[in-house]
């Protein structure tokens, strides 16, 4: 308590905001922001300011040491998976230009994505250790196998298209006949792994102690497949003449609808304190922009998708929307791990809720 003459003219402290002084082990929030979006960018969240103690404001869980390459891979893996699915559809329905463009897109995206993945490893020269074991409890292990299986099919199908574009100038020799024979099955094989490639990254993020990702574990798979669908369809709309791009337009619209719904559900169901990381600061801006671009791209596709210029512009908007979704969720997770508040508050709340419900035997802290 201070004893200043001016205390009497101070405005009263808002209820529930008062914090007792002299508490050891409680640090200021690292970003200096008040809870509830005190940066002025958003209205304050309507959640009571829970009692929050931490060890000098230091993180409880460690942020994952992943760079932007991993966020880029989340996006590119989605584009690759979706493109392979579109390519297989075009293969079955005999739309050759769409097939070619989607197969090449799948190969290109998965190649760049894989390089980004390997480059982010602490020991890139040991990347092949990913294939030492098949481990069902490790989404990264399963994902490595999915990526490998997908890349095989995508590489064969893509090589066949590249050979056709270059007028059979690839030095294939007698292998050309083999390539022609297996490109169809390879395209279908890649498509079979395409949705898995698009979705496993959601489980990879959710199966961590990073608060934002873990709290979204029910909805993140739906957000990611929707984002992958609209991005790959958007890319096909950019590369393919409108006459052959009708399936891509439909997939784009379905993807936008799925993305908007899944994202809304994710925001609503998430712990209100953790959800701050999706609303505030840079990730919040990215996710809002992503939503706007997805809506714009979807409307453009619906209304002007049969005009080449509008289709291409809508496709670009959808690609950007998907990239922003992935980078936004990626950065929100890192941010949630760096602030102990997002680990401690939801945990205290769920512990208190279980105790209130009469479950008192599963706490890590015991009286004896």
């Amino acid at each position: 308590m201070t004893a200043s003459d001016y205390d009497s003219v101070r405005p009263p402290e808002p209820a529930g905001r008062r914090r007792r002084g002299g508490k050891g082990g409680r640090g200021p929030r690292p970003d200096g922001a008040r809870p509830g979006g005190g940066d002025g960018a958003r209205e304050a969240a309507m959640v009571p300011d829970a009692e929050f103690t931490s060890y000098y404001g230091r993180p409880v869980v460690k942020p994952v040491p992943w760079g932007p390459g991993i966020a880029a891979y989340l996006f590119l893996g989605g584009v690759a998976g979706g493109s392979a699915v579109l390519g297989a559809g075009a293969q079955l329905s005999g739309q050759l230009i769409l097939r070619r463009n989607c197969r090449l897109a799948a190969l290109g995206a998965v190649s760049i994505g894989a390089v980004a993945l390997v480059e982010d490893l602490g020991r890139p020269e040991r990347f092949v250790n990913m294939l030492r074991v098949i481990k069902l409890t490790s989404p990264m292990s399963l994902g490595s196998w999915i990526l490998t299986a997908f890349s095989g099919g995508a590489a064969v199908a893509g090589a066949a298209e590249a050979d056709r574009i270059t007028g059979q100038r690839l030095p294939l020799g007698p292998l050309r006949r083999v390539l022609r024979a297996v490109e169809g099955p390879a395209g279908l094989e890649a498509a079979a792994f395409g949705p898995l490639l698009a979705v496993y990254t959601a489980v990879l993020l959710a199966d961590t102690s990073t608060p934002t990702w873990n709290h979204a574990h029910d909805e993140l798979p739906f957000v990611f497949v929707s984002s992958a669908s609209l991005a790959s369809a958007g890319l096909a709309m950019v590369t393919t003449p409108v006459a052959e791009a009708a399936p891509a337009r439909r997939l784009a619209v379905l993807g936008v609808v799925g993305d908007l719904v899944a994202t809304q559900v994710m925001h609503r169901r998430m712990d209100p304190v953790v959800a701050e990381t999706l609303h505030d600061a840079r990730p919040g801006t990215m996710l809002r922009l992503s939503e706007a671009l997805a809506v714009a791209g979807g409307i453009g596709t619906l209304l002007g998708g049969r005009r080449r210029g509008i289709a291409a512009a809508s496709g670009l908007a959808l690609l950007a929307a998907s990239a922003l979704t992935r980078f936004g969720i990626f950065e929100a997770g890192i941010r949630s791990a760096k602030d102990p508040r997002y680990t401690i508050e939801p945990q205290k709340r769920r512990l208190a809720a279980r105790r209130a419900a009469g479950v008192t035997d599963d706490s890590i802290t015991t009286g004896g």
């Binding site: 002299g22 508490k23 050891g24 082990g25 103690t53 060890y55 230091r58 869980v61 460690k62 942020p63 994952v64 040491p65 699915v85 559809g89 329905s93 982010d120 602490g122 020991r123 990347f127 250790n129 030492r132 069902l136 409890t137 490790s138 989404p139 990264m140 292990s141 994902g143 698009a198 496993y200 990879l204 199966d207 961590t208 873990n214 909805e219 798979p221 497949v225 929707s226 992958a228 369809a233 052959e244 009708a246 399936p247 439909r250 379905l254 799925g258 680990t343 401690i344 945990q347 205290k348 769920r350 512990l351 035997d361 599963d362 706490s363 890590i364 802290t365 015991t366 009286g367 004896g368």
Partner: protein, 349 residues
């Protein structure tokens, strides 16, 4: 697939043919003096390089900061005033009143400050017939909390579950160890750990230092760069029937080492003893096999809420929810395939 949650013997669950008794620590923070000998012994035995630039963190006597790739023991230091002490006693008493498993009779109320004042004002040289006064000679006005944190060696270890290479493995002693020559530094385990223990080792060159005193003294080359590193519970020493370096060096026996069952028994006896002395703020952390990680191999006796020490109040191994995540992912992937099929079934226009 191994068991994902709930009580189990981790070494047997990992299908070791010759399961040894599970080993673990019991860190009794009520007798820790914050000397950091454990930090030093750990660094020395495990050849762990220096963390950071010998900077003072400016928050307390703890200038180590946190557990990390090169810091496998970390002594937390907290100074508290009276209101926090009273609050800790209340939260501790609430835990006892919850009727947690394995609890004794209700504890007596906290000793009054008048009593303790009387005990302290008594000249120590006068021999008395009553038993030696064992209550700590603190004041009720403030206290120092010191606690040596370490890897929890969880029954269900988040880091181990998500490791894609098999570099992390469960030893025959039920502990969790990284094989540095297998790890490719993917970093998934760092996010998997609910306690923020494991970390990928860097040499600190990612962010060039421009501050004064840039390299304080010659440093040996950093081993195991770019791979995940954490406490091994001195696996090499365990194999030779030796005590881990930190427990061996601890001058107050705050860090105890032994069979996990013995450690839990000792912890429960000790917390009962402290409660009998009226120190209701004492509580155990990690001694309950029904918790979110199936119980920890390293058990702690704390004198305040876990988050005060930087520990999570209700950790849950993320892999416990993995079947549910796989189900959601399967639904989502099927939805994507269906959407694509619908897109093509709609025709070419």
């Amino acid at each position: 697939m191994p068991q994902l949650a709930g009580p189990t013997d981790p070494a047997a669950d990992a299908r070791w043919p010759d399961v040894k008794p599970r080993k673990g620590f019991f860190t009794d923070t009520s007798i820790c003096i914050g000397c950091k000998a454990c930090e030093v012994a750990c660094k020395e035995w495990n050849h762990n390089p220096r963390d950071g630039d010998l900077d003072l963190l400016g928050s307390s006597y703890d200038n180590t900061g946190a557990l990390g790739a090169s810091t496998w023991r970390h002594v937390a230091f907290i100074e508290q005033k009276r209101d926090r002490i009273e609050q800790a006693q209340q939260t501790g008493r609430a835990l006892v009143n919850l009727g947690m498993p394995g609890l004794g009779p209700p504890v007596p109320a906290a000793r009054s400050s008048a009593e303790s004042m009387a005990a302290e004002s008594m000249p120590p040289s006068i021999p008395t017939s009553t038993p030696v006064e064992t209550t700590p000679p603190d004041t009720d006005e403030f206290r120092w909390l010191m606690s040596s944190d370490v890897c929890k060696h969880c029954t269900h270890a988040g880091c181990l579950d998500v490791c894609p290479t098999g570099a992390l493995f469960r030893t025959e002693f039920g502990t969790v160890v990284v094989q540095a020559d297998v790890c490719n530094g993917c970093g998934t385990c760092v996010a998997g750990c609910p306690f923020g223990v494991i970390e990928r080792r860097t040499d600190g060159t990612a962010a060039p230092k421009t501050k004064r005193g840039e390299r304080k003294g010659e440093q040996p080359e950093v081993p195991n760069l770019g791979v995940a590193q954490k406490c091994t519970l001195c696996y090499d020493r365990l194999i030779d029937d030796e005590t881990p370096a930190c427990a061996k060096t601890c001058p107050t026996t705050s860090i105890k080492f032994g069979d996990h069952t013995d450690m839990v028994t000792q912890a429960k006896d000790r917390v009962a003893e402290l409660h009998a002395q009226g120190r209701t703020e004492a509580r155990l952390y990690g001694a309950n096999e029904l918790d979110g990680v199936g119980g920890t191999g390293s058990v702690f006796l704390l004198l305040d809420e876990p988050e005060v020490y930087g520990l999570p109040p209700d950790p849950r191994v993320p892999t416990a929810d993995l079947p549910r995540m796989f189900r959601q992912a399967g639904l989502a992937a099927a939805g994507m395939a269906t959407a694509a099929a619908l897109a093509f079934l709609g025709g070419r226009r």
